[in-house]
């Protein structure tokens, strides 16, 4: 019997092999090729950029250096900042709205199936369709800005996607310091919770690292100079429109995740809580929400990776030429297919990949550890 099992295991491997080979090529090999292209100068010399057999040279990390500290690539740096702001608002919006809707539906209103259907249908649409419709809605002279007139108020004045305003500005040179301070804060919070959970040594270790980061932040603020000139970045208000459209599309998905989690909570738990005198608010905040915390984490990761690589929605809503709503994924496309800068485009792609990997790899690892069975 043993040998038969071994033979079946071998067959299993062979069955998987074609897919593994294909993935190895289409994912890993191509990533390697992109990395290699990003280390070359393909595109800088117009006579080689679009030739049938282009001749390129190795230039190391020069493209990356330019992206982060070169004069011309200010647009990339703003895109990076924009995408981080967008991700934060998008995730927050989806989680809040999704949770709210899930809790509402969990109360079993009449026609709950209908409500669920309405909230989830945008997820079945293409980002291009969503972008097209919202582009029309967010025209500065019409659509959403006209809504207040229906109740007698003056029309809205916000320029939505064409807005040029920027808030929360900060200097690019201060960025390393800001990042380190934020990281230190996070670690301090973790240290605090470890202390509360009576894991003293861990708490001390985390606090020590946090202190080190703060010291580093001070040093960076004094000594590290990324750019030889001042450059302001901030949150482009033009993104508000895109956040709204994106939340419209994905809040239903988050709601479905939460609903699945809420319905998974055993009914006895709820009944016991009600018997103990808990009212609605306490039932949710003390018992049900903490139980769906893992879902919050899952959703954050899925939504995060979607928002980091967002392309279709922005392309359809604002086109490739609106610098105020630009995101790295779109910039990569324009740099490559319009500016003919293939190596620079490849570097942007690699940076995108690293950002996504930062979010996904811990998730994959935790999923793998949990899948103990089979």
């Amino acid at each position: 019997m043993r040998w038969r099992k071994k033979r079946n295991e071998l067959t299993s491997f062979l069955v998987l092999l074609p897919s593994l080979v294909l993935i190895a090529i289409f994912v890993y090999y191509f990533i390697a090729r992109t990395v290699a292209a990003s280390l070359s100068d393909w595109g800088r010399d117009p006579s080689q950029a679009l030739a049938l057999n282009p001749e390129t040279h190795f230039i190391g990390l020069d493209n990356y250096r330019e992206l982060f500290t070169g004069v011309i690539d200010v647009r990339f740096r703003q895109d990076l900042v924009s995408t981080l702001f967008f991700t934060a608002f998008f995730i927050a919006g989806c989680l809040l709205l999704g949770l709210l809707l899930a809790v509402a539906i969990d109360h079993r209103p009449r026609a709950e199936g209908l409500f669920r259907g309405v909230f989830l249908f945008p997820f079945s649409l293409s980002f291009v369709v969503t972008g097209t419709i919202w582009r029309w809605l967010l025209q500065p002279r019409g659509g959403v800005n006209r809504l207040p007139t229906m109740v007698g108020l003056p029309p809205g004045e916000f320029a939505w996607l064409t807005s040029r305003d920027q808030v929360w500005r900060f200097e690019w040179n201060h960025l390393p310091a800001i990042v380190l301070v934020l990281a230190a804060l996070v670690l301090l919070l973790m240290a605090l919770s470890a202390y509360r959970a009576r894991r003293g040594r861990r708490a001390v270790a985390l606090a020590a690292v946090a202190a080190g980061l703060l010291a580093g932040a001070l040093g960076a603020a004094r000594g590290l100079v990324l750019l030889p000139f001042p450059e302001l970045h901030g949150f482009n208000l033009a993104f508000v429109g895109i956040v709204v459209a994106a939340v419209w599309q994905m809040a239903g998905y988050t709601m479905a995740l939460y609903l699945a989690g809420l319905t998974g909570i055993p009914i006895e738990l709820r009944e016991a809580a009600i018997v103990d005198g808990a009212n609605d608010w306490q039932l949710y905040t003390r018992i049900m929400l903490p139980l769906v915390a893992p879902i919050t984490l899952s959703a954050m990761i899925i939504l995060g990776h979607i928002s980091l690589k967002i392309f279709d929605l922005v392309f359809a809503m604002a086109g490739p030429d609106n610098a105020y709503t630009d995101v790295p994924a779109l910039l990569m496309f324009i740099t490559t297919f319009r500016g003919n800068q293939f190596a620079k485009g490849a570097s942007i792609g690699v940076i995108l990949l690293l950002l996504v990997a930062l979010v996904i790899l811990p998730y994959l690892r935790s999923q793998l550890r949990r899948r103990g069975r089979a």
Binding site: S12, L16, P18, S19, L20, L22, I23, F26, V27, Y29, F30, I31, R33, T34, A37, L97, A104, H107, P109, G117, V118, F121, S124, S126, F127, V128, V129, T132, I133, W134, R135, W136, L137, G142, G143, R146, N279, D280, W281, Y284, P294, S298, A299, I302, H305, F315, A316, A329, M332, F333, F337, G345, G349, L353, I360, L364, Q367, L368, R371, A374
Partner: protein, 278 residues
């Protein structure tokens, strides 16, 4: 949901329904706008009267959009059906192998595959383009089919694996004792139970591939263009008369919407399969 004890039930229910109605208006407002604009005559489309119902119900935009989009819809259909079918079949076999016949290292190889589901496609776009051109499939719908099949393998494998894990191992063991081999067990034991899995996978893949844009815009030429690209170009023009893009958006959205309405339950299952742990 206000805090406080002995809240009268009707207060809570009222707040609930108000919230739900507000949410429904938010979600349906764009649909209303899309329909109303699609049915207006081009000269009646005006930012000032955008919210008003059309005075003349103009079906011509749909006729025009249909004429412009019909070949692209066909492209999308061929692409989506082929790629979904192939990736579903392969995913089923993969999922079976991983769920019922794990071997040392299979979990690592599985993560190796899963990572492919998450990468931003910009990171592989240029080499992919060069590869598709090198094998002569650039500009052909079959190039897109190949691409979508390969990149669909991780999610289909994941969904099938999670489905098959639920099948009790006693079934597999008893069939093994009866002398059935790898493929025999699949054919007679696992495959007959796969229908829900196939439905979930095909619906998920159908939606994803139909709605995809980046590969479509980079690897197709005007003859093999799927619908998402045609729509983006329609709406991106200058002096756009919005009735046409709205009608086009509706036509582009209709197939996946129908799938969603008819197969909603399976749609949700596909959605959950990729996100929440098994």
């Amino acid at each position: 949901m206000k805090a406080g004890r002995r809240k009268p039930r009707w207060g809570l229910r009222l707040a609930l329904y108000v919230l739900l109605v507000l949410a429904v208006s938010f979600f349906l407002m764009p649909v209303y706008m899309m329909l109303v604009t699609a049915f207006k005559e081009p000269r009646a489309i005006n930012l000032d009267t955008a919210w008003q119902l059309p005075q003349v119900w103009n079906w011509l935009s749909f006729a025009e959009a249909w004429r412009a989009f019909r070949p692209k819809l066909l492209n999308s259909l061929i692409l989506t059906v082929s790629a979904s079918a192939i990736s579903a079949v392969v995913g089923s076999l993969n999922g079976y192998a991983l769920a019922k016949w794990p071997f040392p290292g299979s979990r690592a190889l599985f993560s190796f595959m899963l990572f492919g589901m998450f990468i931003p496609y910009q990171a592989i776009l240029i080499p992919l383009f060069q590869f598709v051109k090198a094998i002569g499939l650039y500009g052909s719908i079959w190039g897109l089919v190949l691409v979508h099949t390969v990149y669909g393998l991780p999610i289909t494998t994941l969904i099938f694996r999670n489905t098959y894990v639920e099948i009790p191992s006693e079934i597999v063991e008893s069939m093994c004792i009866d002398g059935a081999g790898f493929f025999g067990i699949y054919r007679f034991g696992v495959f007959p139970l796969s229908l829900p899995g196939f439905v979930v996978v095909i619906i998920w893949q159908f939606t994803q591939i139909w709605n995809e844009f980046l590969f479509a815009v980079s690897l197709s030429n005007p003859a093999s263009q799927p619908i998402t690209v045609a729509l983006a170009q329609l709406a991106g023009g200058e002096a756009v008369k919005w009735n046409l893009p709205m009608a086009g958006a509706l036509l582009a959205a209709l197939p996946t919407l129908l799938v969603y309405v008819v197969f909603g339950r399976y749609f949700v299952r596909g959605l959950l399969a990729g996100s929440v742990k098994g």
